[in-house]
């Protein structure tokens, strides 16, 4: 069960790397959020507690619905259908994704989890998410894609957190979730302003501030 969810995460990542359309990408991230939201339910060995349910529900709502919704709102005014050539092509991105996956598996072997992880996929997948997130931020031009990259990165960390640690204090968890939410909220606002100010959301053209 865990493995299934994790592999879904990997697939969504690969889809993101290869996707050129903005709307599809946002939906992919939303799907990934939902999958990850379910993850605590299955990783937890004990009988389901209220706390876990709350966490899962919060994650699903925030990652799966609120954040994508925000992003959709932010890019509504922009012509999302327009193709923008990314800095690294989609095919190359996919190949890179595969390489990153291999690297992640190797990392996972190098860094064994202490208490016998629930799934040997856990660490590799979270690393893969982190690398993919970085890659999306670096290799794409649109601000929205970069936010997606950040979310994927965050998701990777979340995966690790959920999988590696059984007990995280609720305050911290809530804080983390809230912080991510607010961050993306503000990012959304800024993307909205960017699109109004510049009539595009390509961040590689945001380079007036330099030395």
């Amino acid at each position: 069960m865990i493995d299934l969810l994790l592999i879904l995460v990997v697939l969504t990542n690969l889809k993101l790397l290869g996707a050129s359309r903005l709307g599809a990408s946002i939906r992919t991230v939303a799907a990934q959020g939902v999958v990850l939201g379910l993850l605590p339910l299955v990783t937890h060995p004990h009988p389901l507690s209220i706390r876990i349910l709350e966490l899962a529900a919060g994650s699903v709502i925030i990652k799966g619905f609120l954040i994508p919704g925000l992003l959709f709102r932010a890019v509504r005014e922009v012509d999302v259908s327009r193709e923008i050539e990314p800095l690294v092509g989609y095919i190359t991105s996919l190949l890179f994704g595969l390489a990153a996956l291999g690297l992640s598996v190797w990392f996972g072997a190098k860094l064994p989890l202490p208490m016998g992880a629930l799934s040997s996929w856990l660490v590799p997948v979270s690393f893969f998410c982190i690398i993919s997130g970085f890659f999306l931020i670096v290799a794409r031009k649109r601000a929205v894609t970069q936010v997606l990259g950040f979310l994927v990165l965050e998701n990777g960390i979340y995966t690790f957190g959920v999988g590696a640690m059984q007990e995280v204090s609720p305050l911290v968890e809530a804080g983390v979730l809230l912080d991510v939410l607010v961050a993306v909220f503000i990012m959304g606002i800024i993307i909205f302003h960017i699109s109004r100010e510049f009539e595009h959301i390509e961040t590689d053209r945001l380079s007036t501030l330099k030395d």
Binding site: F134, V138, K141, T203, S207, L209, D211
Partner: protein, 655 residues
Amino acid sequence: MILILLALAIIVGSGFLSLLRGKQVRSASWIGVTGVWLGSVLILYAAGSVLFKGGMESWRREITIPGGALSLYLDSLSAFFLFPILILSSLAAWYGTGYLKPSKKNLGVHWFFYNLLVASMVTIVLAHNAILFLMAWEAMTLASFFLVTFDQEKETVREAGWIYLVASHLGTGCLFIFFLLIGAQHDSLEFERSNATANGGIFLLALIGFGTKAGLMPLHVWLPEAHPAAPSHVSALMSGVMIKTGIYGLLRACELCGSLPAWVAWVVLGMGMASGILGILFALSQHNLKRLLAYSSVENMGIIAIGLGLGLLGISHHVPGLAMLGFLACLAHIINHASYKGLLFLCAGATGHATGTLDMNLLGGLLKRMPWTGATFAAGAAAICGLPPFNGFISEFLIFAGAFRAGTTSNGEVAILCLAVIAGLAFIGGLAVAAFAKAFGTTFLGEPRSEYARQGHEVEVSMRWPIVLLASLCLILGITGPLLVPKLFPVVSGLTGYSQEIFQRELGPLMAVLPKITLASLVFFAFFAVCFALRRWLLLGRVVEQNTTWGCGYLRPDARIQYTASSFTQPFGDLFHWVLRTQRWMAAPSGFFPKPTSFRSETPDLCQGHLYHPAFLRLNWGLSKLRWLQHGKVQLYVLYIAAVLMILLVWKLAV
């Protein structure tokens, strides 16, 4: 010591008061100056008792800064340095009241920094703790920087200030490491005399740091820029005593380091010779009076360094006579240079003040218009050339005596170095005569070369008295100097550790006959009086006419006929073109009806033009090549993070 603390408080306090009364020009000046005078008298009283009666005073309070302490220590070396510092400070301050009178600026600021400079110099020679020393050192740099940039509306002044500040700061950086290394050896930042054998490299740091302040070649670049830019009494103070704190630092560094390897003496001597010869050559080629004086300061610091180098050579080769004469010469030249360079800068200031220019090619004939300034300048010029009966001769005599002594009796490298010093110093002396004959001749003698010079007039009393006093000091020290030299031995003893017995044994005979120099001076005056009286008597009742200068039969000579500063130095410029790189602009006469001709030359600094400026440009160029790092693309910024993460993970985890 309480007296000194009180005096420091008075000096700084009056500076503050003056700052508060900045708008009232007269009262600001008088408060500042009075503070300096009062403080000087008090400190000199304390210093005099230490210098002449022996003993030492110390005072120490802990402060909260780690490693630091307010630790003051008045020994004979400190007391010795206090004399030139305070005497020149007081006289220059007095002069400054007159010099700044026409200025419309806020003089409170000026006097604040002036008094701060004086107080910081006093603190430097008294400080017995590295942190206190460095703080005073930087305070001195800053105070003098703000004094130099008094006329900061002028581009050249700003440029000069920048060079000065940067050079000083970089030099101080070396001092940081020097004191920390010394401190690490002693486990304390208090100054302690060391008897261990020192690593010469540490001393080299001190040499760079203090040498920058002292203006030794090739670290002198700030000096010819800053001195002309500053108001003249400030140039006098800086050139007369502030740069000497660099020498003070070197002397202390010798104490702190312990016994130094012989090659250090070679380096010091080499820098001294380079400064001396190149300094005077560049001085000779300058046409701005204050710039000339500034280069001459480089030369004189070179002579002081030669003295120091001979002293170190003597110590490391166990030739006590040479060592003691070297240090004596070093100390004597410090006093002498303070008096005549202070004098010359003040005179130059008066000249600039009265005429509005310092370009020698525009001056001339000022001796008749400014008799006091001219006469005192002549005295200073003779003194700086090391001519008897003025004081410059005494210190050069001591160096020569030491070099001759060791050069004739020692063997090996000591003899070779001493003979090199003889040749070098003789050459320096010859060039100095040329340089100052030019400086005095073109500025004060002959006919005015321009309207500037024609409007020259004698300066007011407050500017006249200090220069007259300094000129008398040059003469008095010149005549009585030979008698005073043995009195400096306690200072040398403190530095070298030689006892009175060794001094008597090695130098007793020489010291016993030194008064003959005084005698020779008196004889000279006697002969002069006889000759002059004879001339007066002979001319009495004879026909004494006035006519135009002989011009090879040309009957309408005018001022343009005169040799200019540029032409005067032309033979030197030719001979030393390979090092001076004098730039020339000449419109030579040609054809049957030649057009007006002209000749102009300019000698920019060698190190500045060929070493520091290119190095700085190179640095700037190299760094500008790296500026693409901040190219504005957020994608790559994130890539940096990823990259550094990977590097750190691989670097740290792979091990």
